[in-house]
């Protein structure tokens, strides 16, 4: 009796997980479960997915769509609407240059141009070896210490071109 009861349970569990066996999908499962598979939790789930996978590949979007019982078009629509979601792989390290007004007045544009030259990248691009992505932000709210740059999630204020290049040189 016991074994027959356990079997379908195990099967059901297997079905829920992604066929590739990729453990990161388990993180997604947990997030969706915590949000009770509510459709309005889509943005939260996508945030988690991007955190786990680095970017939102098509497979992940389909998985989320199935999990939340939403049409893929809706999931894709949301993923492409918001700036923070990326459908392309990001570099292992990211350098975000803030282009908010205060940073702009303090020369963030020139800073970005300099960095583009030094790294051989345009903003939004990643180095060929996948190490560094150079991105821009609209305003990170650190206006008091403009111009500000975020390297791997850590905010640094009153930056110069040389200081940033020194910090990311090792990744380049």
């Amino acid at each position: 009796m016991q074994s027959t009861e356990a079997e379908p349970k195990a099967k059901a569990k297997k079905e829920a997980a992604h066929p590739s066996g990729d453990k990161r999908f388990k993180v997604l499962d947990m997030t969706m479960k915590r949000n009770q598979y509510r459709q309005d939790a889509l943005i939260e789930v996508l945030h988690k997915a991007q955190e786990a996978f680095g970017y939102l590949e098509e497979d992940v979007l389909m998985y989320v769509a199935r999990g939340l019982k939403l049409p893929l078009s809706r999931v894709y629509g949301v993923a492409t609407f918001y700036h923070l979601f990326s459908l392309k792989p990001q570099g292992a390290h990211t350098c975000v240059v803030c282009l908010g007004t205060a940073c702009y007045v303090k020369g963030a544009n020139a800073l970005l141009e300099g960095l583009e030259k030094d790294c051989g990248l345009k903003s939004g691009e990643t180095t060929e070896d996948g190490q560094v992505s150079l991105v821009t932000a609209r305003c990170i709210g650190a206006c008091g210490i403009a111009p500000a740059v975020v390297i791997d999630g850590v905010v640094a204020g009153k930056q110069t071109r040389e200081a940033i290049v020194n910090r990311i040189k090792e990744y380049l």
Partner: protein, 537 residues
Amino acid sequence: MDLTELRELAKKERAAFKSIRVHCCTSTGCQASNSLDIKKNLDTAVKDAGLEDQVQVVGVGCMGFCGRGPLVQIDPEETLYEEVTPEQAASIIDGIKGSGEATATKGDSQHPFFSRQMRIVRENSGKIDPERIEEYIAVGGYESLYKVLHDMTPEQVVQEITRSGLRGRGGGGYPTGLKWATVAKMPGDQKYVICNADEGDPGAFMDRSVLESDPHLVLEGMAIAAYAVGANHGFIYVRAEYPLAIQRLQKAIQQGKKYGVLGSQIFDSPFDFKIDIRIGAGAFVCGEETALIGSVEGKRGNPRPRPPYPAQSGLWECPTLINNVETLANITAIIGKGADWYASIGTEKSKGTKIFALTGKIRNNGLIEVPMGITLREIVEEMGGGVPDGSVKAVQTGGPSGGCIPAEMLDTPVDYDSLTKLGSMMGSGGMVVMDHTTNMVDVAKFYMEFCRDESCGKCIPCRAGTVQMDEMLNNILKGKATLADIEKLEALCQMVAQTSLCGLGMTAPNPVISTLRYFRDEYLRLIQQTSNGKVPV
């Protein structure tokens, strides 16, 4: 919990305060300059000096003077140290002990930057540990919530807010009491309260600072609002760009539940209220209320036509109250000290105080809370200390929806109506000072590019109009434009402003219109340069 228990807790917490409190700023700005290491070193130094009985190191929220961070302040003497390094931490403790001199730069806590301020919303900022609800309770927190739940009817609360004259701090300046009354009047059992913390204006960080420095103030304001309008569920929609604010809010909500000031049967009353956090994903348009509602529902942040207003049909078609962070942060003080007190501050039509983020080409960068009606000159020259080299050329207020106010008009009082009259607006409170090195056409182009990128694309005037205006400004900057182009640009500005669906499009032309109004010669110079001194027609 009842009032005696709450006051007992506050008393106990206050008794535990040491006689000397060393406040170390742990907000985003100062954390970016190693303030966490400073705090760690201060802690070690206190222990090494054996001063644990008298001295307490507290990680506090923003003290406001972000441009000179990291800041350390010693209370009660209010000795301020600026641009502290982790290495200097030990010497500050030596200074307290009397065994040495502090090597850190001493600041002036009586500087006009501080002394001209009037702190209502930021009263506790930089004074209490934002990660501990006990400290908030120690300074009288949650007493206003208790008061409304036990001594006031929802109608009385709405009346009190109406009488205070509080207006929305997110930019529009809609009377808060009127908004509350509309939601309160709506039938239906399910209503929502949303706190708009999607502070998208570049150059503004007041809401981030309030959330990071005093999250419980906002939670208490939301709970009072919910009681007044009859809601039982609230959402805080906060930008993903503010990870520290999100983290502190999450902690605050948990603590609030633990102490029974959030959740069911708050303060043993029949009032239930829970708060969920919704994290944005980087879309400026989500600051618009109908777009924000879409985003909370997990959809694309597209605005929809109003009416119906969210107050009538908002989140999941239920009546919804949407207020900005700073608006909600004012509520506790209004209930605590009374509407008459609040209404006595400010000007006839703009009551209370407003927080501004003073940034750009100015000596003293940071956050200031000032009474409405103060002049721009007082803010920029006295508090801000003026431009480091040269003089003020313009002050930009209101972000991409606002305009540039020229130096000649610095004597304008800061209130909703005066700023609108100048072609700018109060906005959420960004104030970016520009000097002679700033090219005003370039500024207009900067904002237009911003609006072009952030336009959601739903309505054509905004989607196509911003692209065209951006292109025209580009041509002017490159010297490829004629006088006729400026006329065309002006006509297009009018058209986009009048026909766009939401606030983003309606106000997108403002920076162009205001720079054309006050700095037209800069546009003309760019045109003249390329036509060899002759103005083409």
